[in-house]
Amino acid sequence: MKILAVCGMGFGSSLMLKMTADRVLKKLGVKADVEACDIGTAGGMQADLILTNAEFAKQLAGGQAPVAAILNMASEDEVEKALKENLDL
């Protein structure tokens, strides 16, 4: 399973979001590859789920992968909810 964490440059909020997602996946006992990337490269990448902020969620919606908007990049509750709603866990 592949999850993308997307932000403007790929090493700030997306990396923080990846850390949160990794913690949640570990807690749930789910094996998945989480990759942080920037908005420029996200569109061309294959993924089962895209996690990002509200702005980029609008831009990335309508592609192959479901997109979930996260308000607090460090919130395990918010990320867990997004994973459960969009993936077959």
Partner: protein, 147 residues
């Protein structure tokens, strides 16, 4: 050199634009030799170009730019505003806590991000930070994170 200490924190009552807030938080890094002046321009340019995505949690902004935009040493600064600014002019994106990040490359700032992440996930800590009125009060809260 120290990455984060009392030189990198501030509480401001008279900042009324998001550009001014980013510039102020960047200046805390600039005057300690962490960044070049052009890094501040790059942070503002990123918001103009990409939108208010630097809001990483409600009320919290993480302005940053690429390491090659003028980072000399890694660092963070913490600025608490007593009246909100609206990142990129978006009325639904108030910011009261500005955490300015300077990263040397795409990986070495992971520990800094973990620290910031631990703040974000602790609602009562964030509320305490937002409620301070003076730098001394802010210092009392964040000093245990000085590195």
């Amino acid at each position: 050199m120290s990455v984060f200490n009392e030189k990198f924190i501030a509480v401001e009552k008279k900042i009324d634009s998001w550009e001014e807030a980013i510039t102020f938080s960047g200046n805390l890094l600039l005057k300690e030799g962490k960044i070049l002046p052009r890094y501040i321009d790059a942070m503002i340019e990123n918001v103009n170009k990409l939108g208010p995505y630097i809001l990483i949690a409600p009320n919290i902004a993480l302005p940053h730019a690429r390491p090659d935009s003028g980072v000399l040493e890694e660092g963070i600064s913490v600025l608490v505003l007593k009246q909100p600014v609206y990142i990129g002019g978006a009325e639904d994106k108030p910011a009261l806590l500005i955490i300015c990040l300077a990263a040397k490359d795409a990986h070495s700032h992971i520990d800094l991000l973990k620290t910031i992440s631990s703040w974000l996930s602790d609602e009562s800590l964030v509320n305490q930070m937002l409620e301070v009125e003076t730098k001394d009060e802010l210092n009392e809260i964040v000093r245990k994170y000085y590195i």
